[in-house]
Assembly symmetry: C2
Homo-oligomer: 230 residues x 2
Amino acid sequence: MDHAFSESEREAVYRAIFERRDCRRFLPDPLPDSVVSRLLVAAHHAPSVGFMQPWNFILIRSAEVRSRIKAAFERANQSAAELFDGDKGTLYRDLKLEGILDSPLNLCVTCDRSRQGPVVLGRTIQPEMDLYSTVCAVQNLWLAARAEGVGVGWVSIIDPADLRLILGIPDTIVPIAYLCLGRVPEFPDTPELQRLGWLSRIDLEPLVFEEGWGRHLETFHLSLPDDDRS
Amino acid sequence: MDHAFSESEREAVYRAIFERRDCRRFLPDPLPDSVVSRLLVAAHHAPSVGFMQPWNFILIRSAEVRSRIKAAFERANQSAAELFDGDKGTLYRDLKLEGILDSPLNLCVTCDRSRQGPVVLGRTIQPEMDLYSTVCAVQNLWLAARAEGVGVGWVSIIDPADLRLILGIPDTIVPIAYLCLGRVPEFPDTPELQRLGWLSRIDLEPLVFEEGWGRHLETFHLSLPDDDRS
């Protein structure tokens, strides 16, 4: 196809997509500023609604700040753990769900909802588009990090009010992602929650419809890779 | 760095990130099912909170369905255009903001908020995490598409209520992205809104803070690429 990458380039892009993992175990070695810079540039080149570029990036290495974040995680996680009963509850309590203090770098990615003024092209009838643009920046960074050999973990079990307080984030700014970054002992073959039997990967085919919700495939032939690229 | 890709693989991942574009001009040639399948598999391997995999994919090729979607875009865009005055208003009305009928394939990516039941690991205190997971799937697809030579455009100027009605999407399901996909005459060097002077790319450095909001870089050295990878 015109404009397609070479086969080896294409395979590299898919490799990043399939081998990206949500990492919770890190090596303490600091990341070179040059590598972190490349990840930030990758994030900054995400698509954004109306070219709004609503993101900011807060790099966090201070042990004191990270210990306050870790305490916020512990509070939220204690409440969360109570929601899972029986075997799930036991498994939940055994899971390692963050690497806030183990990783050499934490990164909070935020969305400035007022950037470029009150009216933004493309965000007129779907006001949440700026939040989604910021998530695209996170995913760019995550894939670039995989290519660099850098592990990334998204910690979502923190009350955003705690993030605001600890990091001094103003009311008009939305914290989107709190990430842990660092070298990792491994990128496992499968997601940890799958390996531990928390949930399995869903079959793709029943998730794909044609022409409307719930209308399963009739004319489109979904071809899946031979290996279980989980 | 251990686990890093080779230099050529890493460059391929960055190439996809930097050369991805929001496309509005398409060639009518249909996309092979095999290529579309690879894009869907890439989307399905996005990170998801608690391994929830909340997405569905509605493939839309029917001219009748697409003409209803196009009419919904026209309605939303007419209201939107009224929000831009003067030169911006003139420029806005000249912009091509979608390729709903020109592209051979439209794709609606949705988020099923009830998938995996009411309590999902990692979504207990940040309930919007499932929406963000679905956006990660969109970005995976977008980057894979660039590697395949397939253009993708995200049409956000449609009332989600119209999408629900036209595509029969139930109340519990949130439409996240309405995408146009197809071969394209070109992937321009810069985003169209930048080329036309709508907005410029923001300098990255002032967007990066250390240890807290608004605290500009002191110890971290942000190194930017020599070329203006816009």
